[in-house]
């Protein structure tokens, strides 16, 4: 038994810093070779398509159509074309506007909501908590038609034009972001000690005072996470945006989807531009994740939803 384990241990212990070597031997879960195989396999599975996005974006369309992985020609032209051809300039501006506003407002509202839900006991509190979880799973396809009808009715009965504007999307994303953002904040605020709030109360702070002066400064990591998730919801949505926007209020997601779909049936599709636009659309999201990775991973597993 130990005969099989020993060579593995000595082989791989070189990687580890000597100080913590024994620690590693105790907690290690896999033999070195198997570990390497898993890591190499999974990294390849992830990185090859990701690398392909970039490689295809600098390749010629014919090259992509012929199935080249490594480009036969190199040009950054696609990155200058996409702003008007895909409509990415308008799309990105709209996406940033709508998703950004959603993030800010949703984070602010979810702090207040979560604060009340965590710190106060009242009738229906658990129902609300359960409702927050349940609402995250309501299928978007179920909601899109009634929301559309509701907004159209707002136009015909109240004279408020919502469909086709960024306002409609903003309100929709805000609402759909709220359950998850609030849940993230609930899990975060639970971890905060009460003592500071109590001290502030003894000093005569009001409810709003406690929220603004004590809770807000303490819960920035949670607020950032819940804001980012709200942002991503708006950024990644195709369903509502495809139904509720006009070309001038289109988000980047819809712009790319429409561009991709319009390439069917023509000559050689403009693959290079599609990939360049994909990369540009993905970049802000990936950068956000990398910056806030530590917090976001905690938020993900706490709420368990993308």
């Amino acid at each position: 038994m130990s005969a099989t384990a020993t060579p593995v241990r000595t082989a791989s212990s070189q990687e580890f810093r000597p100080g913590s070597r024994r620690q590693h031997e105790v907690t290690r879960l896999l033999p070195g070779p198997l570990l390497a195989i898993i890591l190499v396999f999974l990294c390849a599975v992830v990185l090859i398509p990701v690398a392909y996005i970039f490689l295809a974006s600098v390749n010629s369309d014919i090259g992509v159509a012929n199935g080249e992985f490594l480009p036969s020609s190199f040009s950054l032209e696609n990155y200058t074309k996409i702003w008007s051809s895909v409509g990415l300039a308008t799309g990105l501006a709209n996406s940033v506007l709508v998703a950004g506003a959603t993030a800010v407002v949703s984070a602010a509202m979810s702090v207040a909501t979560a604060y009340v839900l965590v710190r106060y006991q009242f009738r229906g509190r658990l129902t609300i908590l359960r409702g927050l979880l349940a609402l995250q799973s309501v299928p978007g396809t179920l909601m899109v038609l009634p929301v559309f009808v509701l907004f159209s009715s707002a136009a015909s009965y109240l004279g408020i034009q919502v469909i086709g504007t960024q306002w409609g999307l903003f309100v929709t994303y805000l609402t759909f972001a709220m359950p998850f953002s609030t849940w993230v904040m609930v899990t975060y605020l639970r971890g905060l000690p009460r003592e500071l709030e109590e001290a502030a109360r003894i000093d005569g702070a009001s409810n709003v005072g406690v929220l603004v002066r004590i809770i807000l400064p303490l819960s920035w990591p949670g607020i950032v996470v819940s804001g980012i998730f709200a942002f991503l919801l708006g950024w990644n949505d195709v369903l509502f945006a495809s139904v509720m926007t006009r070309p001038e209020s289109q988000t980047a997601a819809v712009a790319l989807q429409v561009f991709g779909a319009s390439q069917e049936g023509g000559a050689i599709p403009l693959y290079g531009q599609m990939m360049a636009a994909s990369l540009v659309c993905a970049a802000p999201v990936v950068i956000l994740y990398l910056i806030f990775q530590r917090y976001l991973v905690g938020g993900l597993t706490a709420g368990g939803v993308k």
């Binding site: 990687e15 105790v26 907690t27 879960l29 898993i38 999974l42 992830v46 398509p49 392909y52 992509v64 159509a65 199935g67 080249e68 992985f69 509202m109 979810s110 207040a112 909501t113 009340v116 710190r119 006991q121 229906g124 658990l126 908590l129 359960r130 979880l133 609402l135 799973s137 309501v138 299928p139 978007g140 396809t141 909601m143 899109v144 038609l145 009808v149 309100v171 609402t175 975060y188 639970r190 971890g191 409810n207 990591p221 990644n236 949505d237 195709v238 369903l239 139904v243 997601a253 599709p269 599609m274 990939m275 994909s278 659309c281 999201v285 990936v286 994740y289 597993t301 706490a302 993308k306």
Partner: protein, 348 residues
């Protein structure tokens, strides 16, 4: 923090009554602070008397109003509206004046179940979600187990593992759509090893294309939850199994995997909900009208609404998908422990 909540989850699922007990609403506005610490482990809570007075005096429940109002107007009202619309004969002509559209009762449901591809779509949705789930589980667990112990470059690899999950669905779908083009990069790669895979984006194989891309995009979620499960394994357990000289697979099988049961059942439920609800991936990957073999529920509902303009029928289909979603959702809500608010010293 996350690991804590999963410990809670595990204990909650163990005793089924645990979650339902606090669900009974308090009879009056009487704060239940006093009885909660009983459920919470450890008695580090100061006596509740002083705090009880504080929270009873002025609870800022008005702070719930903005969010609550929004959710009622944009989620609850449309939800009810959608259910009502399922009983209307609603098409592009009657939609403008939907209030006065003819009410036809359950006809839409009958049509959806009898003469539409709904049941087939339900089957496609459920089977594709399950297959994708069954494949992502071992991938995610392997990734988590492989990155559990520290090694040089682990942080980088952990970031890499998250990329597929981080990429927006519409980007993932656009990229795979390009790679799966006839004679595209996937075909030429398979061609070099002598495999002619046929069409990926048309015909019966599309079903497997969808599953493949879904797996690629969603295994990191399993990985994340498995990782949080692994982190809850006590060090003593490692030491004990090392002392016993347990082989690595025995250790995994009998010592480590039991810790993953809780997080992974949670991941399974949430993953199923996500897959069944996933609209963007099949929509962007195949476009509409989608090939018949990937006409999953969200796509069918969308096409019925916005391509065939059978809004009433579509609402009925959407209602069926809600019922379908309700099954894993119900299990999920039962399993999640809502109220660990009073757990002292939750760490972040």
């Amino acid at each position: 923090m996350s690991t804590d909540s999963f410990k809670d989850l595990r204990t909650t699922t163990g005793s089924a009554s645990g979650s339902s007990k606090p669900a009974t609403p308090a009879p009056t506005a009487r704060p239940r602070k006093g009885e909660v610490p009983r459920a919470a482990p450890g008695g580090s809570q100061p006596p509740g008397a002083r705090r009880k007075g504080l929270s009873e005096r002025n609870r800022p429940l008005w702070m719930l109003i903005p969010g609550g109002l929004l959710m009622v107007v944009i989620i609850v009202v449309p939800l009810l509206l959608g259910i009502y619309m399922a009983g209307l004969d609603l098409d592009q002509y009657t939609l403008r004046r939907w209030v006065s559209a003819p009410f036809i009762g359950v006809d839409n449901f009958v049509e959806a179940l009898v003469s539409s591809p709904l049941l087939r779509s339900v089957w496609l949705s459920v089977s594709y979600s399950l297959i994708a789930m069954v494949v992502t589980l071992p991938l995610g667990i392997a990734a988590a187990v492989a990155t559990q112990n520290a090694f040089k470059g682990r942080a980088l690899i952990r970031s890499v593992f998250l990329i597929p999950y981080v990429l927006p669905s519409f980007v993932v779908a656009t990229v795979w759509r390009t790679m799966f083009q006839p004679n595209g990069v996937v075909d030429s790669a398979l061609g070099t090893i002598g495999i002619d895979a046929g069409l990926w984006l048309n015909g019966p194989q599309t079903y497997w294309t969808l599953i493949l891309v879904q797996i690629w995009a969603s295994w990191p979620f399993i990985y994340l939850l498995a990782l949080s499960g692994l982190q809850s394994v006590d060090h003593e357990v490692h030491e004990a199994s090392a002392l016993d000289g347990a082989l690595w697979w025995n250790k995994l099988r009998y010592v480590v995997f039991p810790y993953l049961k809780g997080p992974l059942s949670l991941a399974f439920l949430i993953g199923m909900l996500h897959h069944i609800n996933n609209f963007t991936l099949p929509f962007v990957l195949f476009g509409v009208p989608a090939p018949a073999d990937v006409e999953v529920l969200p796509i069918l509902t969308y096409v019925t609404s916005f391509q065939s303009f059978r809004f009433g029928l579509s609402a009925a289909m959407a209602f069926v998908s809600l019922v379908l979603i309700a099954i894993p959702l119900f299990v999920y809500l039962r399993a999640v422990k809502l109220d660990d608010a009073e757990t002292p010293g939750g760490k972040k």
